[in-house]
């Protein structure tokens, strides 16, 4: 069966510090991968998605970047965090071409920028 991992679970970082969040998927190959951010009490904002290694599409101009160095690894980064980067960051995966494209979410990382 497929499993998706995210770490860390919780993070408190000062403004201006760098960020690296990691997501890995097990039990599947060539997944589509997604990074979402959710502000407190709000909806899901798609930040980045990837259909393959090295292929990243950005949805929202911002202080963040993403990379996919391996098939089942997705990394969210920032060089300098802003207060507005606080939120609940969720990684998700979906199957490839012959799936129904339903998305499965990781447990999330709760980021507080102080």
């Amino acid at each position: 069966s497929q499993t998706i991992h995210q770490w860390p679970a919780t993070l408190v970082q000062p403004v201006g510090s760098p960020l690296s969040l990691e997501c890995t998927v097990e039990g599947t190959s060539n997944p589509n991968l997604y990074w979402y951010r959710q502000a407190a009490g709000r909806g899901l904002q798609l930040l980045f998605y990837s259909v393959g290694i090295g292929q990243i599409s950005s949805e929202v101009p911002q202080n963040l970047s993403a990379s996919r160095p391996q098939d089942r690894q997705f990394i969210l980064s920032s060089k300098k965090l802003l207060l507005s980067d606080s939120g609940f960051y969720l990684c998700a995966w979906s199957g490839g071409r012959w799936s129904s494209y339903e998305q499965y979410f990781g447990p999330g990382t709760r980021l507080t920028v102080t």
Partner: protein, 112 residues
């Protein structure tokens, strides 16, 4: 463009029914439904792929009217475990990466 969900919130007594609607201004070919419990990640409930198709998950069912570009989620004989925020997600037709655009969510609270 983001699909519109209604109502924004609903409070139920255990055993009562509720309907959550999801409407889009764009043509839809599928609708996804997810539930997010407080402090947790969203969980996939079901996907509706054809016009008029209905599906179920426990006592939660959904319908999809392709012509009206809307989907409805039915919570029947609600249980305490149904509390959470429900999101519908809609893909653009042949969208790269099959990305979804999610509605703003409907908060459901089921009281004993």
């Amino acid at each position: 463009q983001q699909p519109v969900q209604s109502p924004q919130a609903v409070i139920l007594r255990e055993g009562e029914d509720a309907v959550i609607n999801c409407s889009s201004s764009k043509a839809l070919y599928s609708v996804h439904w997810y539930r997010q419990k407080h402090g947790e990640a969203p969980v996939f409930l079901m996907i509706l792929l054809k016009g008029g198709e209905q599906k179920g998950h426990e006592k939660i069912s959904a319908s999809f009217n392709e012509k009206k570009q809307q989907s409805s989620l039915y919570l029947t004989a609600s249980q305490l475990s149904y509390s959470g925020t429900y999101f519908c997600g809609t893909p653009a037709i042949k969208a790269a990466g099959n990305k979804l655009t999610f509605g703003g969510g409907t908060r459901v609270l089921v009281k004993p």
